[in-house]
């Protein structure tokens, strides 16, 4: 048995980068949003770095300050990943698709088609939609949580049953005898839920990994944990500290056990927003030049997080001893990190440039720092792997792949090549056809 290795994924979105104002950076082509070639390039770089998957979050609505911030979403996850599949050969594809506004038969069909096309590299991040702006695009209000999750259970069960409805040995295709299908092995599923239903079968043969992998993403609510525990092989988490990561990973694993599954069959991914640079100073300067004015706008939030007054005009001074002794971390998990950074004596601008108010833990500086963060979390069992949101994709993916990945490999915690050709192999989860036999029948 080889030792367990960590798994990396790359989040893709509008082609610019995870930082505010990324689209304005000089190395970014502001047309990238409509230019699929850009995401193809980043996918190829991630594949050079042996990343197991690309992850595409999806909130299909115009949200936030689009006038200045850009669209912050991908044009279409399935179309983008299908195009990328034609220019890559190993990296997997995890697209978000909402169970709230799509027919299970359509999800089943498109994800399995991508799975067959890509020779077993597809995954479905099955979410429910809680954003009213997205729901309005379907002319509907947001359903209450228990209805959304009931529909999600029904949808995933139907989708997995459809995926299994073309059995492994169904496809005879004997030209001499004239038998194409053994029709006893391609049978309807006849599933009737409260919200969705399908007869099937779905006439798509198994892929090299059997069928696509299910992912879940979100905060660890009981509803989401129950869903993830039953069906998911990957969990896209949002955690700020090692303690947080350990706790959420344990919850997700417990949920799998409660559904009768092996907890090793669900991998927990923590987020990380890397800025790779020769030194911390150069990394902070890179971020400051990208973020521009949006940095200053975060001062009140920082003050709030630390429970101190901060003068916006004194951006280039560290917090005073007085400010520091009055500061205390709020319940926001990021405030402890912010306080640590502040105590190191950085100016207010630099504290913010450390990404303390970003969506995920940020690492800024040389490759070894990134490797340290990742190794520490991984060895503390706070994550089975990480999903990365680089500051700027155009050079940020290359920097991570060419500088951080070799360090992780030297340290023996990251594979030097793909383990296999399918997403399941590279995640370390078993082949699957249809519903997980351990889960079937435990329906509420």
């Amino acid at each position: 048995m080889t030792e367990k290795k960590l798994i990396l994924g790359l989040a893709l979105h509008d082609g610019s980068g995870a930082l505010n104002n990324a689209w304005r950076a000089p190395q970014v082509n502001p047309e990238n949003y409509a230019n699929f070639e850009a995401n193809i390039r980043y996918a190829q770089a991630a594949e050079r770095g042996k990343f197991a998957f690309l992850f595409i979050p999806d909130f299909p609505a115009v949200r936030g300050d689009i006038e200045h911030g850009g669209v912050r979403n991908i044009i279409d996850p399935m179309i983008a990943l299908t195009a990328i599949s034609q220019a890559t050969s190993r990296i997997g594809f995890v697209a978000t698709g909402s169970t709230s506004f799509q027919e299970p038969f359509n999800h089943a069909r498109q994800f399995k088609a991508l799975d067959v096309l890509s020779h077993g590299r597809a995954g479905w991040n099955a979410v429910t939609t809680s954003d009213p702006a997205v729901a309005a695009n379907y002319g509907k209000p947001v359903a209450e949580r228990s209805e959304r999750y009931q529909r999600a259970h029904e949808s995933i069960q139907i989708v997995q049953a459809l995926w299994g409805s073309w059995q492994k040995e169904a496809w005879i295709k004997n030209q001499a005898s004239g038998q194409y299908i053994d029709s006893s092995k391609l049978q309807p599923v006849n599933l009737q839920g409260k919200y969705v239903a399908s007869r099937g079968p779905l006439a798509i043969p198994p892929s090299e990994q059997g069928q696509p992998v299910i992912f879940s993403s979100g905060g660890p609510s009981p509803h989401l944990l129950a869903l993830a525990g039953r069906y998911a092989s990957g969990f896209i988490g949002e955690v700020w500290t090692i303690e947080d990561g350990r706790a959420q990973r344990a919850m997700v694993r417990r949920a799998a056990e409660e559904a009768g599954r092996d907890p090793d069959d669900i991998k927990f991914f923590a987020g990380i927003m890397p800025t790779v640079a020769p030194s911390v100073r150069e990394g902070l300067d890179r971020r400051i030049s990208i973020l521009g004015d949006t940095l200053k706008a975060q001062v009140p939030q920082l003050a709030n997080m630390l429970g101190v007054q901060i003068d916006r005009r004194r951006l280039d001074e560290p917090l005073t001893t007085e400010q520091l002794s009055g500061a205390y971390p709020s319940r926001d998990p990021r405030s402890g990190i912010a306080l640590d950074v502040a105590r190191q004596g950085w100016t207010v601008r630099d504290i913010l440039a450390h990404g303390v108010i970003d969506y995920h833990p940020t690492v800024v500086g040389p490759a070894a720092l990134h490797a340290d963060h990742i190794q520490e979390w991984f060895e503390a069992e706070a994550a089975d792997g990480f999903w990365l949101s680089p500051d700027i994709f155009e050079d940020g993916v290359d920097a991570f792949v060419d500088e951080v990945v070799p360090v992780l490999q030297q340290r023996g915690i990251y594979p030097s090549d793909y383990i296999g050709t399918t997403l399941r192999e590279n995640l370390g989860v078993a082949e699957q056809y249809g519903l997980d036999p351990r889960v079937v029948g435990t329906e509420d």
Copy 2:
């Protein structure tokens, strides 16, 4: 002004061919159904022949004798066309998508994403679903016709409005000023129908052709004509004779005029099933060897069409003078063609090998015969172009492209190169953003 040229399209489906038993032919790999490379090859051949578009019909259900006949459908139209788009640069993509079981926002998004990805080559064959086997995959019965068509009108209007919701000049993307979008030019559509609704906007910029083209397909019922007349730029017809073609084309054009549009903005495509061979005899032999037993099974239908008794054991004899004098064409438009062929003295097997009971007119033999058929129909204004269903794709597309296309070009009725880079340019229909301004407001 150059003279009007005819337009060709190629129908794609399971990767084998239009003939029964095509999957068993020795030159066909019986795994083609799951092998996207096969359809990519055919698409590239069609592009060499300057075809304006690929057309993918869609009946997503297990239908007919799948045990022996194969699946006869494509795994997924959008996934297949997206993959093909990455290996081609001029040919257009017309995918069928049912308005009955898809949210308009999803259709709007995926088709426009493909349109942007392919630099203006996408089209949507917007159909309603009347097949109970397909409806059952969505857990629903087939709605009655007026409801289906009402939902189709609402869906197409919402989709086109969403397509136009990102206006031509909306995308500022000025890195220096920091303005990404002129948000006065990216506005919600707020359409509320009886069956479907959407707020929008859809955050996808115009493609090189503005937005995808709408196609219609089907028999010329008043419901379908009203739909096609308002929205469609292409009409996929099913016609057997020149008279039929002239009549249906005229109906489709009249429907466009009644909706306030220029009748030249809707192109009528007749079907054709070509077998290209050095001689008619060799073409018939090719078809006989592919069709095998399925030919004999058609004898009762032929007898019925001609109103005569035909002995199945006398397959290799022509009809007798007695049989011929007793035969009369039924109301089936194919029976006139069958009678003509029978009177030429062909054996029963050869009559059937002429494809007289197939879905579209069949031409069998050398290139000049195909060119004659096409030219005659085209010059009689029975069609603006043709959609082809070759007997076997593997060698049938190449044969048509390499042998028939040059003859059509020599005769001056077919372009020697693509007219433009977008589907609209190659169809000869205008750019469009949003709803056709002549049609808006005429809503029932």
